[in-house]
Amino acid sequence: MIHSLNPTMKAITIIMPAILLSFSFDIITPAIMFIYILILTFFFSKLNIKKWLFYFIPMSFFALGLAWMTMLYTDGRYATGPIIFSFLSFDIRMGSIIVSISLALRSLCFIGLSLLFAFTTDPTKFMLSLMQQARLSPKLTYGILAGYRFVPTFRHELDMLKKAHRIRGFGHAKGWRNLVEQMKQYFIPLLAGAIRKAERVAIAMESKGFTGSKERTYYTVMKIKFTDYLFLSIMLIILIIAYYVSYRLGTLNIFGHRITP
């Protein structure tokens, strides 16, 4: 199950196809990856499909917008083949349609991978794993976790600020034009409060003997298991298969260069 994988290894596994997929400008390669990502999402993770769709559908509109822009303004290297249809003064060629579908599928892959990571990873465990596996310094790790902990208190503080302003008969700046005014009213005091707390936390950490040394013990020990390597290998194998199938079908296109067997 994807929930129990090591967060750092999971992050690497998910970044890898995101970068390696960037070479392809054909339809087959990202399509195969996208199918694999959907299989992972629906069969190998226990996430709530409704919640997943709630994020996936709005994000996919961006992919469509991207495809539309690509279709209209395709570079000459890609805009080949017969004219399929015309829109205003744009002539849309076969090549443009192919490359725009490719880019849309690529961004759908990115979205799918990202949601897969976000929905199956515990933030604290991800930080602990970055410290223990990716050698992030304990000072930074615990600093970030402390900063992260402040966030829920922001809402409470904002509420307090608003009430304090009202008690003193100080109006609430509204609308877009008063954006700067609003920023001064709420954002600066909130941030100032957070900075004050940061200083206090730093002093408290040091006074309790936190040195930030890397030779320390951990309450929660994060490990890399066999399944983490398995997940990484399968992801890479599917990626290679995707490129190979596209190559065999004669559709492979790397940065505008058709590569055929």
Binding site: I19, Y55, M69, R106, S114, F150, A198, A202, E206
Partner: protein, 203 residues
């Protein structure tokens, strides 16, 4: 000036990174609105370029406050990690793009050996972040398929956005914060105190 980081520098960087990580996420929403407006003209993704500078702002703010090597890079990376922790739809790859942007912002300060924090260097930092981040997105987002003039337009808009939103507004925000006195323990606050003493001795 001491070049090594103190724990309070690191925690401040983390807090700034976390706060701006949330702001960055919010601006994805703003970007989406702009994209929705521009999409009928087929210029959707330019919507993001207009406000791209916001995603470099924490580099400039943190570097301007703490004034030590590596601060711009680290603060930006923390912001990116926060976005991933909270559940950004851009996923772990976002950490990579945060690192690229932070590196870009850091270049401006490295060129001046981390000694000069005048407004023009801050603006330059916003520009260098934009300059370095563009090729990365060119690669990842497949800009290669676009016509050259469109790529150039996007690039120029991003540079301007970096200069204005990250450089200029970043400086204003940090100055406003310093005015409250919470930054008196950091180089930016000390500079203000020194300036204040200098002007009061003139009387």
């Amino acid at each position: 000036m001491r070049k090594s980081w103190r724990l309070k520098d690191i925690v401040l960087m983390s807090v700034l990174g976390v706060v701006f990580g949330f702001i960055y996420l919010g601006f994805f929403g703003v970007g989406k609105v702009l994209v929705a407006i521009l999409t009928p003209f087929g210029l959707g993704p330019i919507g993001y370029e207009l406000i791209y500078g916001i995603w470099f702002i924490v580099s400039i703010i943190a570097a301007y406050i703490i004034r030590k090597p590596g601060v711009a890079f680290t603060a930006e990376t923390i912001a990116a990690i926060t976005e991933v922790l909270v559940g950004s739809t851009s996923g772990p790859a976002l950490i990579l793009s945060g690192m690229v942007q932070g590196l870009g912002a850091e270049i401006a300060f490295a060129v001046t050996k981390w000694k000069n924090y005048q407004p023009r260097i801050l603006v330059f930092s916003g520009v260098s972040a934009a300059f370095i981040s563009f090729p990365y997105h060119f690669f990842v987002s497949g800009f290669h398929a676009y016509e050259s003039w469109l790529i150039m337009t996007m690039f120029v808009i991003r540079l301007l956005s970096g200069a204005i939103i990250a450089g200029y507004f970043g400086k204003i925000l940090a100055d406003q914060l310093a005015k409250t006195g919470v930054l008196n323990g950091y180089p930016i606050g000390k500079e203000i105190i020194a300036r204040h003493e200098k002007s009061s001795t003139n009387f």
